[in-house]
């Protein structure tokens, strides 16, 4: 069992694995842990875990569209968010907002808070502060939240517009008092011009008499055109209705246009009333020829004024119709000329 003495052992060869294996793994794991920790810290920071915030309570009737985490904006900048919603005993809703201390300076005792619901997109809580010199808000202050709901007003608006148009329609419908009046006027003037030519004498010349008749004709056509316009307005409104009230701009324009129509129709009505009165004069005049002479001057001046006014109304209506045509591309070409 003799054995040669063991030679000094050469060093253990290390497997030529991967250079700096431990270092690389360590680096990767450290990096991962760091990134993970930093990300969680960042998420906490972003969620406001490190922020000192103060409470603001808004009370509202209805918080449809409001959710926890929703921002409150001031001049378009988010300055805080909804932290809690709860229903109170009286059926109102309390919205608790967390406002970071540094942003709380934008809110003052005089601030007004509104909830705006757009047709597209979510609701927005907005703060409006007019005077930044007012005393600052204390923690836990309670304010009412006003609703500014664009879509909520539309049904009311439509109802109003409809009633206006109903009035216009009943005014211009066949057999309506104003039409009857005009019919009488026409009959009367025709009779005056045809049978005894009294009107010729009354107006000074047959030319003038014809003009009066023409004016009244024009007034008639004007009214029928307006009828058409109102029908169109009705159609448009129906369309608007079916499109879920469309967008704000169209509704506003429509509303403005309808307001114009209304005032114009008021004007027309006024003019026609005057015409009525004058023609009533003429009627009495034709009945009592002997008393005519005294009234002739008055009547003729009145006639001139009437014409002017009717002209004016027609211009306005013409303008209005052009306007409406511009806004509603589906209207046909309508033009009214003054005689």
């Amino acid at each position: 069992m003799e054995r040669a003495p063991v030679p000094p052992a050469p060093p253990v060869p290390r497997a030529p694995l991967i250079k700096n294996l431990e270092f690389k793994i360590g680096l990767l794991l450290t990096l991962t842990v760091l990134l993970g920790a930093a990300f969680i810290a960042y998420a906490l920071y972003a969620r406001g875990a490190f922020q000192v915030s103060q409470k603001l309570i808004l009370t509202a009737e209805d918080v449809e569209g409001v959710s926890v985490g929703m921002p409150i904006s001031f001049s378009g900048f988010p300055i805080g968010k909804v932290s809690r919603l709860h229903l109170m005993e009286d059926g109102k809703v309390q919205i608790e907002l967390a406002i970071p201390k540094e942003d709380a300076r934008w809110l003052r005792k005089s601030s007004v808070f509104t909830l705006e619901k757009a047709l597209v997109g979510g609701a927005k809580i907005k703060a409006h502060t007019t005077n930044l010199q007012d005393p600052p808000l204390e923690d836990g202050a309670v304010f009412p939240l006003y609703m500014g709901d664009a879509s909520k007003d539309i049904p009311v608006l439509i109802a109003k517009v409809k009633s206006i148009l109903g009035n216009v329609e009943s005014m211009t419908a066949a057999g309506a008092p104003i039409n009857q009046t005009l019919g009488h006027v026409e009959l009367m003037t025709g009779r005056m011009a045809g049978e005894n030519g009294m009107i010729g004498g009354l107006m000074g010349s047959p030319e003038n008499a014809r003009k009066v008749v023409q004016s009244i004709d024009r007034a008639n056509t004007l009214l029928s055109t307006l009828n058409g316009v109102s029908l169109k307005v009705d159609g448009v409104l129906a369309k608007t209705d079916s499109r879920l009230f469309g967008q704000d701009g169209v509704m506003d324009q429509a509303q403005g246009a309808i307001r114009n129509v209304n005032t114009l129709l008021g004007d027309v009505r006024e003019s026609l009333k005057k015409a009525d009165a004058i023609l009533a004069n003429a009627q009495t005049a034709s009945k009592d020829v002997t008393k005519i002479t005294g009234n002739i001057a008055e009547a003729t001046t009145d006639m001139a004024r009437l014409r002017l006014e009717i002209d004016d109304s027609m211009r306005k209506v013409n303008h209005l119709i052009n306007e409406i045509n511009k806004k509603w591309p589906f209207a046909r070409d309508v033009e009214i000329k003054t005689p």
Partner: protein, 127 residues
């Protein structure tokens, strides 16, 4: 039993003490290295299983068994492990080199191969 294919010969041997005694890699591989030096096959230390020749593979397997100093090591039909070697003298030499690290070693072989083995104190159980 085959060696672990993706470890070097040295690591294959060192793995056993790493597991059994929870040694760190330095100690375990030093143990394995010492054994390997005794057998004279240290040039194969960093080779992996497919690169080993039959002799080296046989040494590795023997060492993997021997490093734990079990009471008995059984070599079953060495001809299967050493196809190209005149194995009885080789095994005799190998076992002698490792004599200090072995307790008892049995070689199991067919009886007609008995004359191949020289009488030796280490092989009491030849069949």
């Amino acid at each position: 039993m085959p060696l672990r294919a993706n470890l070097s010969l040295l690591d294959n041997i060192a793995l056993i003490p790493q597991y059994r005694h929870n040694l760190d890699y330095e100690t375990a591989s030093a143990q394995a290295w010492n054994l390997l030096l005794l057998t004279g096959q240290e040039s194969a230390a960093l080779k992996r299983d497919p690169q080993l020749n039959p002799v080296e593979r046989c040494v590795a397997k023997l060492l993997r068994a021997a490093i734990e100093r079990p009471p008995i090591i059984l070599i079953d039909r060495p001809a299967l492990l050493l196809p190209d070697t005149h194995y009885p003298p080789f095994l005799g030499d190998l076992l002698e080199r490792l004599a200090d690290h072995l307790n008892d070693c049995w070689i199991l072989d067919y009886r007609w191969n008995e004359p191949l083995y020289p009488p030796h104190p280490l092989f009491p159980a030849l069949r």
